[in-house]
C-alpha cells in the first residue's frame, strides 16, 4: 500500500523537477490519446514539440512562439501574484478583452492623427480598461465579501458581449461595407504595434512581458509587498499579525493582474490581431491560468511555461491541419499538462512511502 508522508521542509529538488516530470507524463499520456484517435503518436508529438522549432517552417514558426507566449506570460505573471496571495482571479480573459477595447477605442477615436504619443496612450488606456474590469470583483469582494472566482469569471461573458457590441456597433469600421470588425491598425502607423525584431517575433508586448517577469521577480524576492503577498497566501492569520491589510492586497493583486491583462489585449489588437473583431479573443486569459501554475507561480518559471504553452499552441495547430487531429484533442493535451503538474506537485511537500498494511 502506498502512503503519503509529509516532508519536514518542501523539497527543492522536486519543486524544480515536477514540471519536467509533468511534461514527460503528458507526452506519454497524450501519445496514448493520439494513438487511440488512430494517429501515429510519435508523429503527433514530433509535430507539436519538434517541428515548430526545427522543422521545415521553423523560420516562421519560431517567431510565432514569442507572439503567442508574450500575452500568456504578461497575463500569467499578473495572475500569479494574486494566486500566491490566495486571490483567485479567473477572469483575465475578460480583462484582456476590455483592455483591448479601451485601448483600441482610443486609437480609433483619434484616427487618422499621426502622433508619437498615440501608441503609448493606447497602452495606458488598455491597462486602465483591464484594471477597471478587475476592480469590479475587487470592490465587490472587499465591500460585500463576494466570491472573486465567480464574479471575475462571469464578467468574462459580459466582456465577450461588449466585444460583440463593439465590433458590430460602436467600433465598427465605417468604411468596412457593413462587415463586423473595426479598422485595421496595420494601416495606421501611429497606433500600430509593429515588430521590433521580426525574426524573434518580438513586439512591444513581448518586451513588456520580459520586463514584467523581471519586475515580478524582484518584487517577490526583495520587496516587502512581495513578502506580504506570499505571507497572505500561506498563512492569512500570520499576515494580519504582520499588519497586512487583506483588502488592500485584494485591490492590488486584482488591479495589477487586470492592468497587465488589459495591456496584453491592447498589444494583441494593435499588433498580431490588427483589429477588434467578434472572435478577437483566443482564450489567452484562460490559458494563462495554466501557464501560471505550470510556471509554479514563479516569474521565471512562467517565462518558460509561457514559451512551452505557446509551443503546444503552434504545434497543436500544425497537428490539427497536417494530421487532422481534432482541436478538442489538442485542448485535452494542454489540460493533461496542468493535470499532471498539479498531481506531481504533491511530491514537493510529500514523499511516497511503501507501507505495510496494519495487522487489523
Amino acid at each position: 500500500m502506498l502512503k503519503l508522508e509529509r516532508r519536514p521542509t518542501p523539497s527543492q529538488f522536486w519543486s524544480r523537477a515536477t514540471p519536467v516530470l509533468a511534461v514527460a507524463l503528458t507526452v506519454v499520456a497524450g501519445g496514448i490519446m493520439f494513438a487511440l484517435l488512430g494517429k501515429n503518436p510519435f508523429e503527433a508529438i514530433r509535430t507539436i514539440f519538434w517541428d515548430p522549432l526545427f522543422g521545415e517552417f521553423a523560420w516562421y514558426l519560431r517567431g510565432q512562439l514569442m507572439v503567442k507566449a508574450g500575452p500568456l506570460i504578461l497575463i500569467a505573471v499578473g495572475l500569479s501574484l494574486g494566486f500566491r496571495a490566495g486571490i483567485w482571479n479567473i477572469g483575465a480573459e475578460g480583462q484582456y478583452i476590455m483592455g483591448a477595447i479601451a485601448g483600441a477605442a482610443l486609437g480609433l477615436a483619434v484616427f487618422p492623427t499621426e502622433n508619437r504619443l498615440i501608441f503609448p496612450a493606447m497602452v495606458m488606456a488598455g491597462a486602465l480598461g483591464g484594471w477597471a474590469w478587475a476592480m469590479i470583483p475587487a470592490i465587490l469582494k472587499t465591500r460585500f465579501n463576494t466570491n472573486e472566482i465567480l464574479v471575475s469569471l462571469m464578467l468574462v461573458y459580459v466582456a465577450q458581449t461588449v466585444l460583440a457590441m463593439a465590433s458590430t456597433g460602436f467600433l465598427r469600421n465605417p468604411e468596412g461595407a457593413g462587415f463586423p470588425g473595426s479598422r485595421n491598425f496595420s494601416g495606421y502607423e501611429a497606433a500600430r504595434n509593429g515588430f521590433l525584431w521580426e525574426g524573434a517575433g518580438l513586439h512591444w508586448g513581448g518586451v513588456m512581458a520580459l520586463a514584467t517577469v523581471v519586475a515580478a521577480y524582484v518584487l517577490l524576492q526583495r520587496h516587502i509587498l512581495g513578502f506580504q503577498i506570499k505571507l497572505s497566501g500561506q498563512a492569512p492569520r500570520a499576515a494580519r499579525y504582520a499588519g497586512v491589510k487583506p483588502d488592500r492586497l485584494v485591490v492590488l493583486c486584482l488591479g495589477v493582474a487586470g492592468a497587465l491583462a488589459g495591456m496584453a489585449g491592447l498589444f494583441e489588437v494593435s499588433g498580431p490581431a490588427g483589429q477588434i473583431s467578434i472572435d478577437f479573443n483566443s482564450g489567452y486569459g484562460f490559458t494563462a491560468i495554466i501557464v501560471a501554475f505550470l510556471g509554479r507561480l514563479n516569474p521565471v518559471g512562467i517565462l518558460f511555461a509561457g514559451l512551452l504553452m505557446a509551443l503546444t499552441y503552434i504545434g497543436g495547430e500544425m497537428a490539427a491541419t497536417n494530421l487532422g487531429l481534432p482541436s478538442a484533442a489538442i485542448q485535452a493535451f494542454q489540460g493533461m499538462l496542468l493535470f499532471f503538474l498539479l498531481a506531481c506537485d504533491l511530491l514537493t511537500n510529500f514523499r511516497i512511502r511503501l507501507a505495510k498494511r496494519e495487522a487489523h
Binding site: 519536514p8 505571507l231 498563512a235 492569520r237 499579525y241 504582520a242
Partner: protein
Amino acid sequence: MTAVELLRIEGVTKAYPGVVANSDVSFTIHEGEVHALLGENGAGKSTLVKMIYGLVKPDQGRMTWQGAPYAPAKPSAARASGVAMVFQHFSLFEALNVAENVALGMETPPPMRELAAKIRAVSEHYGLPLDPARMVGDLSAGERQRVEIIRCLLQSPKLLIMDEPTSVLTPQEVDILFRTLRQLKEAGTSILYISHKLEEIRALCDEATILRRGKVVGSCTPRDATAREMAEMMVGATITPPERRVGEKGPVALGVSDLSVASPIPFGTSLKSVSFTVAKGEVLGIAGVAGNGQDELLLALSGEIRTEGDRVRIHSQPVGDLGPVERRRAGLVAAPEERLGHAAAPNMSLTENAFLSGVVRQGLASSGFIDWGKTENFAKSIIETFDVRTPGTHVAARALSGGNLQKFVVGRELLQDPEVIVINQPTWGVDAAAAASIRQAILDRAAAGAAVVVISQDLDELLEISDSFAALNEGRLTRPRPVEGLTIDEIGLMMGGAHGMEVAHHVG
C-alpha cells in the same frame, strides 16, 4: 456504595516530546456513576480520555474494562466495547440533515427512514428535542451538540465521555443537558465528565478525579466539597509565590479602558469593558481558563482588532485605531498563543519569519526593499540568544518542535527592544528549562523598563513573574491586584468571580 467497577485505570503514563501529558494516572469509574475529570488546561485531561477512546496509546500502565484487559487500538474498538464520546468541537456536515449526519458516524447505518424514527424516539425519551430532517447548518450550538449526543446514545454506550460539554451552551441548554445526563445515569450509564466549571461538577457528579500537570493530585466527592476546595486542588495549594522585587512603579506605559470587542472567532468570547494599566517595569499577569477572551484580548492589543483610538493607549497616545505595524512603531510587540499559522508562517524559513514581525522595529527594509542580510543576522541572534535548536535559518518554521518554535517566536519579540510586551501563553509546550529562561527573559525586559502583559493559564508561572494579577472570565477582567499578599482563596474567587456575579445578577 457497592457499585460494580466499569473501567479501572492503573498507572497510565503518556509522554510527548518535551512534555509528560499523563504520569502514573489511576482512577476507577463505577457503573451508573457520573465521574468528573477536573483540571486546568494542559493538565492532561484530553490525553487521558483520548486513551480511553482509543485515539492515543498509553506508554505505560493498563486499563481494565469490566474486569477484562482493555487496550482499544482505534475508536471503533472503543465503541464496540461500549465507550462513546462527545467532543468539544463537533464534527458535523452543515449541508446535511441531522439523520444523514448521524448515519455518517455509524458503521452500518440502517435505512434512513428507520434511522429518523430511531432518532425521534431517542430524542423524545431523553428530552432532547431534535428534528432528524433539519439541516445541521440551521442548528444552534446546543442543538448541534444534541446531534452528537444522540449519535452516541444510539450505540447504547456503557460509558459516555463528555469533553467540556457546556462551553458552547446557554444556561437553558445546560439545564436540558443535565436532565438528560441524570436520566442516563438512572438507566445505568456511566458518564466521564470533563470540565473546569466547579459548580457544574458539584451539581452533577458523584466522584471527581483532579489532575494537575499530568498527575492525579486528589479525588473527592463533589457534593461534599466546596468549589474552593476543589479549585485549590486543581490549582495546587502548595503555591509559594517567590519574593517580590519591591520596585517603584514608573509612569503608565500601556493603558486600556472600557475595551469591548466582539469576538471575530466562532464560539469566541467577546471582551466586555476591559480596563487596566501597566506601568513601565511592571508585569501584569492575566489568568483565566482558556476561551474566556484571552485570544481576543491579544488581538485587540496587537492591533489585529481595531477599536476606538482612546481605548488602548501607549505612553498616553491613543493607538486603539491603529494596526499592528503602527503599534509596533509605537513600541508594542505581541506574541500570540498559536505559534504555527499566527505567530509564524509554517512554510516560511526562520529568516522570513524573523522578518514577519521584526521588519518595523529592526529596520529590516528600506523604502520597501528587504535587507535579507540584516534579516538573517537578526534571525541568527534570536537563535543564539534563545538557544533555538535548528540546523539553520533556512529551515521552515513547521520543521521546528513546538518548544523550539516558541522560543524563536518569543525571542523574536523580546529582542526588538520593546517598550510594551503582550504575550499569550509564553511557555506553552516548552520544557522546564526553556520555560525558565523565557520567564527570565521577560523579567529582564521588565527590569529594563518595559511594561509587560502576560496572559497564561499556568497560575504558577503568573505568580512567579507578575507584579500584579487579574483574571479574565467570560470576557470580563477583574481589577488587577498586587500579587504580593494574594492568597489562593482570593485567586480562586477572582477566576470564578464573574460567574458568581452573573448568577446574583440574574436573581437580583
